[in-house]
Symmetry: C2
Subunit: 197 residues, 2 copies
């Protein structure tokens, strides 16, 4: 029997090829945009064959999905800082900072578009990325409830919708990136008292 | 010289054909979805020739854009109710109600996707729909400032981003429609004191 990782299409992947493919996906997106991105272009940049990409991912969108999920897990902190306000602000700042990594904003816009147009990819994008980001913020909220320093300004689900809603709406509907001032105002609104100096 | 309405491609449109085309665009979208919608399908349903549609709109997305803009102007109230809280809640409720009109949610998802993939349509969607919706909410906020009953919980721009962010994020990223409870919680959070009975 062929050895397969859970949820993967093909045999166990070489970690080196995987990393090269995920990095290449961002690089090529940054250079040519989402529409002009192709599996061929990713493979060429990563120094692997096209079939190596297709063995593990069904489409260019799925390569970017995994690249984004991994990157967000690494770069958006959900570490315990002892304060809801500090953690919420860090979560928002890290999330917005991620958008300025070359290729990331274009990839997110492209994947959200694909998710609307193709229901199968939409399901994968929700479970593999959107739900995963919600789960990360839920961890911050869960710890705040345990600690007792999350002021109840709205149900957790709505707080989560507002944080991600602001990020996504700014990205998809406007040319204005979220600023430091916006992050502070959002965290003030969500009811977290300023952290002690 | 041919008589043209501002921003239109062709000569003055027959109001009857225009209404039939806009109504047909929603109907067909509700039946077959955004991807399977075609200009031919819209024309057939509206009882006009395909060239009549193309004379006035460059694509199926542009027909839906105008249909959505007109519908939102009509159905989302920005009337003076004498209270920011009442007007904000009415604005949100009307906006969410619009999403349950057959074809509207699918049309919005399709157009936001097109806007990400095609920069030209993206520009038209922002100015013709997204900015127009922001302007409607800005009217409610402007009146509240004049009246003096808008509590300052966040800058107007951010309040606007949060209202539309919640609507769009729920639509694009989740299967959960905004409920009455969500609308109340959102309006509570945005700082409006409950209206006097």
């Amino acid at each position: 029997m062929t050895e397969t990782a859970p949820g993967r299409r093909g045999p166990k992947r070489s970690e080196q090829s995987r990393s090269a493919i995920l990095a290449a996906a961002f690089e090529v997106t940054a250079e040519v945009g989402y529409r002009a991105l192709t599996v061929e272009g990713i493979a060429l940049r990563a120094g692997v064959g096209k079939q190596t990409v297709y063995r593990w991912w069904p489409s260019k969108a799925d390569v970017l999905l995994e690249a984004l999920a991994v990157r967000a897990d690494v770069e958006v902190s959900v570490d315990d800082r002892g304060s809801y306000r500090v953690e919420l602000e860090e979560f928002c700042r890290d999330s917005f900072a991620l958008l300025s990594v070359p290729g990331v904003a274009a990839a997110l816009r492209g994947l959200m578009a694909e998710a609307q147009l193709g229901p199968d990819f939409g399901t994968r994008f929700r479970s593999g990325f959107l739900q995963r980001r919600r789960a990360a913020l839920a961890e911050v909220l869960r710890r705040a409830h345990e600690r007792g320093d999350a002021p109840h300004v709205a149900p957790d689900e709505l707080v989560t919708d507002l944080v991600f809603g602001a990020i996504w709406y700014r990205l998809l509907a406007t040319d204005r990136p979220l600023s430091e001032t916006d992050v502070s105002a959002l965290c003030d609104l969500l009811g977290a008292a300023p952290a002690a100096p």
